[in-house]
Structures are given as structure tokens and as C-alpha cells.
Amino acid sequence: MNTLRVLYFARLRERFGMAEETLEFSGATAADLVATLHARGGAWAEELGGSRTFRVAVNQDVVALDTPLPERAEVALFPPVTGG
């Protein structure tokens, strides 16, 4: 099992009702983590089900969904950025 720190920002933080959680994860890739979260249903299924756009960062770099998650990775899910 891989112990991940998972962070949520902006709309996802609000919709999921949490900014951060620690997760025991048995999958391999970012896509596996998204599938695990999606299976929680409700806002998780709505936001991660494909109709809304989101980004995944692993250890503070935005990555593609097929990226493997390193041990004890910091994973963040968030909407496309809107700064500046």
C-alpha cells in the first residue's frame, strides 16, 4: 500500500468538503486514484466523471493520468487555473 497525501483546491475543495486527506492507495497510476475517488459517488462522481475538466499534480507537477504515483506522493486535484 502507498500512503498518499491528497489535496483539493478551489471548486473541488468546496464540492468535496475537504482540503486534504491521507489515503492508503493500492493502485499504480493517477488514473487509478481518480477511479477510486470517483467510486465514492455524489460530488466525487460528478466532478471526476468526465463532464468537468480537472487537473492532477503529482509532487507539485501537473501530470497525465497514466503517470505512476511514487511512494508517499503529494497528489493534488484542481480545476484549470484562473490566476493573473
Binding site: F9, A57, Q60, G84
Partner: protein, 151 residues
């Protein structure tokens, strides 16, 4: 190089003076200030709150600045982005670029803004008469960043 994420206001004049102080090799300083507007997407905006991803934000801004320095011979760069609650008219972001010649300074300043808009983890939440809403990313910002890839 100077990269800051802060709640406080910044001082454009002081930042540009700090860049040029004691130097005689800078020929051009291009700068940009982005401000909170009272209108967006057809609605009045009473205030906005900027959220960010501490740690990743500074890393992402650092990479954008490194990319600019790899493309143009820059003498100095300053990027300051505010977070927290801001009112219409408040400055949000400052980018200043010093170079020997103006073409490089303008190009790098616009490049940094375009990439900051699409790569740095900031999110805006606006307070409007219809309630609060998260600002949606614009395709035009992706287009603005993508045009640098063709060069």
C-alpha cells in the same frame, strides 16, 4: 530574479527601481500589472478571492521565469502575485522584465503572463449579485500560451 506570492499590495515603482538600482546595462524594462475589474462575463463583481497551492505556486512561477530566461537574454525578472480577498481596482499581479533591448523585454513579459495564466495554480472566486462563483478557465488564455510554441 524575484518571485513572491503575498496578500499585501505591491509597489510597481519600487520594484522597477530595485531592478535598475546601481546598474547601467539595462536598456529596457517592460512591466505588466493585472487588476481586479468590476465586471466579468457580463456580471458585476463586488470582490474576488484568490486561492492558490502553496509550494507548487512558487515552483510553477519559477519554471515559467526559467523558460523565459532560456528563450531571451534577460537581465532581471520580478513576479509578484497576490492571494486573498481583493476589491475591484486592486492590483493582482505584477511582472517586470529587464533586458538590454526592448523587443526581448516586451516578449518575455507577455510570455510570462501568458504562461502564468495557464500554469500557475491560482483560482479566482468572484462575488456577484447572483452569488459567489469560481471563475472558469478561458480558452483564449490557452490560445495565448500556445502561440509561443510555434516560435
Amino acid at each position: 530574479m524575484k518571485i513572491l506570492v503575498q496578500g499585501d499590495a505591491f509597489d510597481l515603482g519600487a520594484e522597477v527601481d530595485a531592478m535598475r538600482h546601481g546598474r547601467t546595462d539595462i536598456g529596457a524594462i517592460a512591466s505588466f500589472v493585472g487588476l481586479a475589474r468590476d465586471m466579468n462575463e457580463g456580471s458585476g463583481v463586488a470582490a474576488m478571492t484568490l486561492e492558490h497551492y502553496p509550494g507548487m505556486t512558487e515552483n510553477a512561477l519559477g519554471k515559467v521565469v526559467d523558460d523565459a530566461c532560456a528563450r531571451w537574454p534577460l537581465l532581471d525578472v520580478t513576479v509578484i502575485h497576490r492571494v486573498g480577498r481583493l476589491l475591484p481596482g486592486d492590483p493582482i499581479v505584477l511582472v517586470a522584465v529587464a533586458s538590454s533591448h526592448r523587443g526581448e523585454a516586451f516578449a518575455a513579459c507577455e510570455f510570462i503572463m501568458d504562461y502564468l495564466k495557464t500554469r500557475a495554480p491560482f483560482w479566482k472566486r468572484e462575488e456577484t449579485p447572483e452569488g459567489a462563483r469560481w471563475v472558469e478557465a478561458r480558452a483564449s488564455d490557452e490560445d495565448a500560451a500556445a502561440r509561443w510554441l510555434a516560435d
